[in-house]
Subunit: 219 residues, 2 copies
């Protein structure tokens, strides 16, 4: 796994996208693909794809393209999707319920195994077949379930408290739907999903985009 340490962060970020699209191609009977074609599928520029792939060694030959099953094998190993990830979900509001209903069903190795909330009215009730536990039971329930990833949908004002409980239970990978930054020890990986920022960024790019596109294209 030595080469991984040299992988640029931007390249690493694209690997899951590549893998997902390769699986779609494979499901549709495509066994070989050129970077230009793969660029159309992924909407990533073909030069970027070739550069990204080059970090991973000899994946294909010039003018011939890439073998889809081989790429899937290499990328799956890199992303370690062979390993089952067991997930704790903290916060059973609307967003928590949406995540649990979906439960990453497209990926057999990602599974929400236990759910938590601090609301006394929810604790002990069952949603969608899942018993909702209180946060005071977090460490115990996570250990029993061999949980190694946590997702929190807890609002910003309680987010740090929820994250502290998660970290204290020994979990090192946290996906946080509250956009305010929280403090975690250096060995913990945390990722934020900030939908307001995503929307503002979209609007920003759309504004730039509309200034560059002549009006007649739209009519």
């Amino acid at each position: 796994m030595n080469e991984l340490k040299k992988l640029p962060r931007a390249t690493a970020k694209r690997l899951p996208l590549y893998l997902r699209n390769l699986k779609v191609l494979e499901a549709n009977g495509v066994t070989r693909i050129k970077s230009k074609e793969f660029a159309e599928v992924t909407q990533v520029p073909s030069a970027t794809i070739r550069r990204d792939f080059s970090y991973l060694g000899e994946l294909g030959r010039s003018g011939y393209g890439y073998e889809v099953p081989f790429l899937i094998e290499v990328f799956s190993e890199l992303l370690e999707t062979d390993e089952e990830k067991r997930i704790a979900l903290v916060g059973m509001g609307n967003l928590g319920k949406a995540l649990l209903k979906n439960n990453f069903r497209r990926n057999a190795n990602l599974k929400i195994n236990c759910v938590f909330d601090n609301n006394p009215e929810l604790i002990g009730t069952v949603f969608d077949g899942f018993m909702i536990y209180g946060m005071d039971q977090f460490e115990k329930v996570c250990q029993e379930n061999n949980v190694n990833v946590a997702i929190t949908t807890v609002p910003s004002h309680s987010s740090q408290m929820a994250v502290n409980t998660i970290v204290d239970a020994g979990i090192t990978a946290i996906l946080n739907f509250a956009p305010d930054r929280v403090i975690v020890p250096p060995y913990v990986s945390i990722r934020y999903i900030d939908l307001t920022t995503e929307l503002l960024t979209l609007i920003f790019f759309d504004n730039q985009h509309q200034q560059l596109i002549p009006n007649y294209v739209k009519n």
Copy 2:
């Protein structure tokens, strides 16, 4: 707005994050900040912050730092948050309901104004004060409400159809929660939220991270 066209995409992407954090600082009475301090707040490296800011002209002085209210003014103008954005939400499953309940309440200029679904059992019913319309009424209702942004939570298999209806109604900014790529005209901006990819990326970085951190740090 000429300088905007030179702004690197990665810098543009960080602007909403900067703005949000500046507003938090201002609310806490901070009027001046150095890039190193701002790096701690935003978790963006201070060199990146200085480079990003340099694209926007003379925002501060060496050794003195940046005036928070001035930065807020500049960034607000860039992101045009002064302009009210009216949003159509398509798909009223759990995720749609979660988005509507939250309704970007932290940003006064972002507002979901009308909601749609194709389920005959939902059409005509009211959720959280919003009448749910059918997609056959999309263009009419959006025009009446001056909608200029759409969010779709429609599942992948119907996503392209929903996006077609959105594009036909003249909307050029679309946030799509279905990860499969859809086809849009070149003047349309579309952004995907793919939670499975976000989670796989988190796990990938956590795996790399755990290999690099000596075990004694964790004990």
